[in-house]
Amino acid sequence: MRAVAWLFVSDRITPEAVAKVAKLARLSLSDDELDQATHQLSAMLDHFADIDALDLDDVEPMTHPTPIANVMREDIEMDCLDRDEVLAAAPAAEDGRFRVPPILGLDD
């Protein structure tokens, strides 16, 4: 199954795929920007196809340089950031909370 999956690396990216990715990333692109992004991402993916030739079947993924996991600290009370100071840095706050525009009802 992986042997099929990695063939995608040398596929060129389509404008439709770029548009979908932009939407997932909450970015809106003009038609010109979409063209340019498609062109640039294609060029990058072409370059990145160099790893297609590698046989990586027996290689474990490496997500992190250090082999540490589940780092815990002592379960004791500690100071945390001051709520008013944190809210003061927000674009909008009200009643001790972040204020946002309506979430429901207006979505496409």
Binding site: L24, E60, P61
Partner: protein, 483 residues
């Protein structure tokens, strides 16, 4: 109050400044004023800073001088003017990442490195310019304009920590901090003719460093010389419980070993190093090997077959992590917001307006690499390549104690040369990227000049937590240049 000493009498290195301030020979105020005067003279041409903190710095210098007067020791970096890359959080002081999306944000806390520098007696003189969110190799991708190379203002200082490199090179600060995700300390250090160090991943706390790619990011110093870099790294390294990836050990000890020389040290030459270094840079590298051999080191040939795949692995992994890390800039908790009728539209409008072109490009690349159907083909394979690279380096370090490569393929290039072709910019990172993937330390030390008399940096690489032999090697190269 005595007459101010002339600038020529004032110490310039980190070590000399701290020594003379602690011993009441020079005042922190005089040292600071000299640096502020230099900023006044040249900052208009160079634009190293997003923000100069002259008033705060003067108040801090007065505190340090008062402490010395009453017999208290301000610390090992007493009175040392230091600049901070503007992706390091400073409480109550704007921290922008050179992005419109964080314009106006004042962090509610200090990064651990900032706290440690202050505790050591250093004086923060300003926040330095960078490629937006540290994404770039020229400091041209800044929402606040490009930084210029102090050696030739028609050229870039490198990036992304170009402001921090330029600040030291121009004499605006005795030292600075940058962050290095794929070479963002070492490449600008090379282009600006200063020392730049990326420590072992986890040796310096990332708490308060605005995240770009969390498994690759590491904070490190820029300084005029190797001994100064050792002093700053000693002050900022060591475990921090606020960073879960912080290594559980004390600060690095480096300064006392700098004079040990390199006799018997095995220095590796990578025979299958990717091509791309220009002839002037390649010539300096050859001379660096010769210099170390003359100093008693043994030069050994090693192979790192997967080295050349680092660029691909990096430009899939780093954008993937960035696309996740930068999801937090949504106009809700900090920074910039573009109002819209509903939350989703507000997210879209805020991010579209707030991020620059390179950041958008990398977010899209990363989102693509992580998206359903492509995850295994891109991100998953990149992580396997990363393991392969780490294994190749581990094998090379069986035969060599340190490795030498160029830090940057070329000397500083002209502004605008690479901005229209992202891939050409990414190739600047060819030699620096592997150390971020493996987590091993690496530094760039100035070693002569190349085309047009511009600085060349040689990169010294070492295994994780072996900063000591890396610094010894760099100190030897520095001594040879000065001879």
């Amino acid at each position: 109050m005595s007459d101010s000493p002339s600038a020529a009498e004032l110490p310039t290195s980190v070590g000399d400044i701290a020594w003379s301030v602690r011993n009441n020979i020079t005042s922190a105020a005089d040292v600071l004023e000299r640096h502020l005067a230099t900023i006044d003279e040249r900052e208009g041409d160079i634009h190293a800073f997003n923000l100069v903190l002259a008033d705060e710095a003067r108040a801090r210098a007065a505190e340090i001088d008062d402490a010395v007067t009453v017999g208290r020791d301000p610390g090992p970096l007493a009175g040392v003017p230091i600049a901070l890359k503007d992706n390091l959080c400073t409480q109550g002081i704007p921290t922008t990442c050179s992005s419109k999306i964080l314009d106006g944000w004042r962090p509610p806390y200090d990064a651990t490195v900032v706290t440690r520098l202050r505790d050591a007696g250093a004086i923060v003189v300003g926040k330095t310019n960078l490629d937006e969110f540290a994404m770039g190799s020229s400091t041209e991708n800044s929402a606040f304009g490009a930084t210029r190379n102090p050696h030739d203002i028609s050229r870039v200082p490198g990036g992304s920590s170009g402001g921090s490199a330029a600040a030291v090179a121009a004499g605006f600060a005795a030292a600075s901090l940058g962050s290095d995700t794929g070479g963002s300390i070492r490449q600008p250090a090379a282009l600006c003719g200063v020392v730049g160090v990326k420590p072992t991943y986890g040796a310096v706390s990332r708490y308060g460093l605005v995240a770009f790619a969390s498994s690759l990011d590491q904070i490190g110093p820029f300084t005029h010389d190797v001994a100064d870099a050792a002093l700053v790294l000693e002050a900022i390294s060591g475990h921090d419980q606020m960073d879960s990836t912080s290594i559980r050990q004390g600060p690095l000890h480096l300064s006392r070993q700098l004079d040990m020389g390199v006799a018997g040290l095995r220095v590796g030459r990578i025979t299958d190093l990717p091509e791309g270094a220009s002839p002037d840079v390649a010539a300096r590298l050859d001379e660096a090997f010769d210099a170390l051999r003359d100093a008693g080191a043994e030069i050994v040939d090693v192979e790192v077959p997967a080295f050349g795949y680092g660029l691909t692995a990096y430009y899939l992994i780093a954008p993937a992590e960035a696309s996740s890390n930068l999801a937090r800039y949504d106009g809700v908790r900090f920074g910039h917001r573009v109002e819209a009728p509903d939350t989703n539209a507000m997210y879209m409008a805020t991010r579209t307006d707030g991020f620059g072109a390179e950041v958008k490009r990398r977010i899209m690349l990363g989102t693509y690499a992580l998206s359903a159907g492509y995850y295994d083909a891109y991100y998953g394979r990149a992580l396997r390549v990363r393991r392969r690279i780490a294994a190749d380096f581990a094998a090379a370090y069986e035969r060599a104690d340190v490795l030498l490569t160029p830090a940057s393929p070329t000397v500083a290039f002209h502004l605008g040369d690479k901005t229209s072709d992202p891939m050409s910019m990414y190739l600047c990172d060819t030699y620096t990227i592997p150390s971020n993937l493996t987590g091993d330390p690496a530094l760039s030390v100035p070693f002569g000049t190349g085309d047009d008399g511009l600085p060349v940096g040689v990169q010294v690489l070492a295994p994780a937590l072996e900063e000591s032999r890396m610094f010894r090697t760099a100190a030897e190269l520095e001594r040879r240049v000065r001879k």
